[in-house]
Amino acid sequence: MDQLSVKVEDLVVSYGSFVAVNRVSFSVRNSEVYGLLGPNGAGKTSTIKVLASILAPASGKVEIVGKSLTDEVSVKSQIGYVPEEVVLFDSLTPREFFEFASSIRRLATDTVNPRLEKLASAFELKQYFDTPIAALSMGNKQKVAIIAALLHEPKLLILDEPLIGLDARSSKIFKELVAFHARKGGSVVFSTHIMEIAEKLCTKVGIIDKGKIVGEGTVDELRRLVRSAEGSLEDIFLKVTEQEAGLQDIIRALETG
């Protein structure tokens, strides 16, 4: 239970002279669902891409399931990743795409197929198995990415805005799957803009703004941080990221305009 699934120390990510993530540190324990919240351009996706071993950090120390990111292949085999922007091989069908992903992950036919059958039925994707991904709706593409991330029963799920485009039913199933994954001892790093979901799903929340973690803890701990007994996560978020001030003026200006 106490074992760390993710350990990030002084992470820095930069694009040229622009520093997107500035000395960020946090950790995620096993069975924990860690929500990474922040306004647009705060550095959430950059942090998540480093965790998924897609982006090389400028500096800092990152360990995934006790392994350094330099052990790239071993780290990646423990991760299930859903990118923010689902860009898959559009000319392949979901069946062909899953076949490719399973081949790279060296999954056995008899173990992967029962799991795939269950996931495809749960997300109602079965009927589209032989349709090119290019012809699928955004939601169905998202389902393909989610199923591909879950196929190999990873220890760590890294999800970048995974609920975008999902219908209510699939969204509910996905949230249940995430909760189940954590109950089984797996961990989740989750980025979202939807505060209600983060509030319900995440056991711990990190608020990132301008590349820095400006608040971290459970929702109750964050309430104490902003000295508010009842505020929702959205209120807390706006206070912590100092976006609350002047918000009412902007809304009034828009209404009168």
Binding site: S91, R105, F129
Partner: protein, 542 residues
């Protein structure tokens, strides 16, 4: 909306299609992690690439005019009259132009479908008709240089052979008709491909249909190549046909592109051409012009539909099960690459290019017996085309790089898979080469022995290219844009590959001078050594 405004709007779409086709879509959503300056550099590079591509086609049109039409029309075969040779030359030029533009168009239509430009235009206050016109004008912008160069080149070439003013004016109209036919052929093939072929489906029939269409897709390339390489032979064959069947000219005068050949011949040599043949060709030419007008309307309407990307969206295959068969990683990569290539015309044509090259080389070198010089010359030709394949194969990973990079893929697996596929294509090209040579009654022993031995050298070159590119672009996800943006890297990798494939050939020539009996052992030993070194380096790649 005024034409000038539509033309201006088409410029924005054109820039976007150029950028998306080369970078955005193939960078697999990784563009965002690049700096502003880098993106600006990519945008400039995309425009430059589009310009280079257009200019190259325009150069080919120039070659077609000056080196195919003029010699065919001037160096009259002995058996043929000057005006009939002129008919052959004009017909060869028009056929070459048709296939050249169609070949370029087939590469471009992929970006139209994938960029889904109409989705963006659709939200603006524009009618469907206006959107179609904008997309069509964008298509014209993509082809502008070849479309303009064709009449210019032909008029220059026509003036060399002493053409008339009326003939020049009519030739411009004939070229416009040909250009419309080329666009219609492109769009027709693209529509058929995206509505019937590029969908999923596991049945053997669908797999065969995809393979057959890949061959159809390569036909314009083959035809353009063929016309340019064998124009003289084509004109001579035309002469023999005309002489052997007396009523053939009357029939040909009605058939495109010969109808234009007879028409322009009649206008250039009025006293020498049979009046009835001229009348036939005038009637046929007017008919083709009417068909071209209908084709133009159809192209404007259809190109808008292709741009919506809805051609694919309308095709759903209801699956009965979810069963998959995972393979070993490298087989999975090869399988995926073949599947992507079978549905992406631009990749498919590159996959098939070595086969076309082999067939053309076998025909080109078929005059006289097969000796060592010819054998090695053919192998240089086939292996040079092969060197283009590894960068293309790596660029496939760029399509979905954001996802692929999250997979536990080993560099070694990636390089092995792509190398295996490239070498497989080389060996199939060798089979095509041997098949065509055998058909032409050539001695196959030298080709077979040196070809098989050279496959080791080609494998080494391919592995080296892949290793260099993988080391450079592993972290960036192999977006093809990355390669084009670093043109110097791309070219230097090709040069290194070329050195590897040429080394045994040069050694063989040296051996031939020093000790003729040791040519094959020297050639094979060097190829083996290259292969052994590169296989070791690939195995060690982490």
């Amino acid at each position: 909306m005024k034409f000038s405004k539509l033309w201006r709007l088409s410029s924005v779409v054109y820039k976007e299609v150029s950028f998306q086709s080369i970078f955005s879509l193939r960078a697999g959503s990784l563009l965002k992690q690049r700096g502003k300056t880098d993106i600006e550099r990519l945008v400039r590079s995309a425009r430059l690439n589009t310009l280079i591509s257009k200019s190259l086609t325009a150069v080919f049109v120039g070659v077609l005019g000056l080196f195919v039409f003029v010699p065919s029309a001037v160096n009259t075969p002995l058996v043929l009259s000057k005006e009939m040779a002129f008919v052959g030359g004009v017909s060869a030029f028009f056929a070459g132009l048709l296939f050249l533009i169609a070949f370029m168009g087939l590469q471009v239509t992929t970006s139209f479908v994938s960029s889904k430009v109409v989705d963006v235009l659709g939200s603006l206050p524009l009618s469907r008709n206006e959107i179609s016109k904008i997309i069509f004008l964008c298509l014209v912008r993509i082809f502008d240089l070849p479309l303009i160069s064709a009449p210019v080149v032909f008029l220059i070439a026509y003036s060399f052979v002493g053409g008339s003013i009326l003939g020049a004016l009519v030739s411009v109209v004939c070229i416009l008709v040909t250009e419309v036919f080329a666009l219609a052929l492109t769009i027709g093939l693209a529509e058929f491909f995206y509505s019937r072929v590029a969908r999923g489906g596991r049945s053997k029939g669908q797999i065969v249909a995809r393979f057959v269409f890949m061959l159809v897709w390569i036909l314009p390339t083959f035809a353009a190549y063929f016309v340019m390489s064998f124009s003289r032979e084509i004109v001579q064959s035309f002469a023999y046909f005309v002489l052997s069947v007396s009523s053939l000219p009357q029939v040909l005068a009605l058939i495109y592109p010969f109808a234009y050949g007879f028409l322009l011949s009649g206008l250039t040599f009025p006293s020498a051409v049979d009046g009835s043949l001229l009348n036939f060709s005038i009637v046929a030419s007017i008919g083709y012009m009417a068909i071209a007008i209908c084709c133009l309307r159809w192209v404007v309407k259809t190109v808008g539909r292709i741009g919506t990307g809805r051609m694919l969206a309308g095709r759903f295959e209801t699956a009965k099960d979810t069963f998959i068969r995972p393979r070993s990683p490298w087989v999975g990569i090869v399988q995926k690459d073949l599947r992507v290539a079978s549905r992406a015309p631009s990749y498919a044509s590159l996959f098939l290019l070595p086969f076309v090259q082999s067939a053309i080389l076998a025909v080109s070198f078929s005059f006289g017996g097969m000796d060592l010089t010819k054998t090695l010359g053919i192998l240089v030709g086939v292996s040079m085309i092969m060197l283009l394949l590894p960068p293309t194969l790596l660029s496939i990973e760029g399509i979905s790089s954001a996802y692929v990079k999250s997979l536990p893929m080993k560099k070694r697996s990636l390089i092995s898979a792509k190398a295996l596929l490239s070498v497989g294509i080389y060996l199939f090209s060798l089979i095509v080469l041997l098949g065509v040579s055998s058909f032409l009654r050539q001695d196959l022993s030298l080709l077979a022995m040196f070809g098989v031995a050279h496959s080791l050298s080609v494998s080494a070159a391919v592995m080296l290219e892949l290793l260099l590119l993988a080391n450079k672009f592993w972290r960036e996800g192999f977006a093809v844009g990355n390669l084009y943006a670093r043109l110097s890297t791309y070219i230097s990798v090709l040069i290194v590959g070329l050195i590897v494939v040429l080394a045994p050939i040069i050694a063989a020539f040296i051996a031939f001078i020093a000790a003729p009996y040791s040519v094959l052992p020297v050639f094979a030993a060097l190829a083996c050594l290259e292969f052994a070194i590169m296989a070791t380096l690939t195995y060690r790649a982490s």
